[in-house]
Point group: C2
Chain length 152, copies 2
């Protein structure tokens, strides 16, 4: 995410939280900023390391509490298969996303594909299962890296 987008997302997050009566405190804002500024997903301990630049002696619970808050607010996502977190690219509305995770360059792209959601919902109806949180993560190779492999 570039600087302009970052400003926009942070502003949006601010507004969203105010509207909901949720408090986007300094700590939480820092974690959100770090995640959005990174072009790769970050683990909680990577966030912790980067926080040392601005915070005295941060500890794991500090980070995890901020992450919990941001997850609840839908401002970030957790990637279960990587034990890592990414900033959400469109937190304006509640949603569930799918993630394309490139094992080559480490890039992760978030998509919101209606057809996939539909097919999941159809399966739910057929089985009577009530989904609270769908996890859809595709591990593989992104288009760019796949191309490199072919030419290289």
């Amino acid at each position: 995410m570039n600087k302009k987008q970052l400003t926009k997302v942070l502003g949006g997050a601010e507004k969203l939280c105010r509207k909901r009566g949720a408090r986007l405190t300094a700590r939480r804002r820092t974690v959100l900023e770090l995640l959005c500024a990174s072009d790769k997903p970050l683990s909680a301990y990577e966030i912790l390391d980067r926080m040392r630049a601005t915070t005295r002696n941060p500890a794991p619970p500090t980070v995890y509490r901020a992450l919990d808050f941001l997850l609840e607010q839908g401002l970030i996502h957790k990637l279960e298969s990587l034990h890592a977190f990414v900033g959400c690219t469109h937190p304006e509305h509640p949603h569930s996303s799918q993630f394309l995770i490139c094992g080559d360059c480490g890039e992760v792209s978030e998509m919101e594909n209606e057809a996939i959601l539909q097919s999941l919902q159809t399966a739910e109806r057929a089985t009577g299962f009530k989904t609270r949180h769908p996890v859809v993560e595709l591990l593989g190779t992104c288009a760019q890296c796949a191309e490199k492999h072919q030419s290289g």
Copy 2:
């Protein structure tokens, strides 16, 4: 999985491995048995605990090595969102499954839904992404538990 199914799956695994030139050793077979006999997913350390009944002083690498082998052979699946493993219900052919994970009773059911796979493949084609391993895990409440909540 009941005893009859267990026997069948183990026999099938035996045959499958022989066909592939892979060795289903005693350790590996034990881990597969434990997973298939359990009605819930097991973490590596839960498997470790249960192995103490038959094996002297087992250590984590023993279990993880067996799990790696079984994953490669498609005889078990890893549930990323639970850090746990389950026996595969139909290892005869290579496949990718989706999992319905009930947060209430802990039960996990494996399904192989063509429509979901289709929608994932369509999205892949649109983005140029090459998926090696799709992770689809629906966290929620199974039909049985949902019913209980309504009546209770």
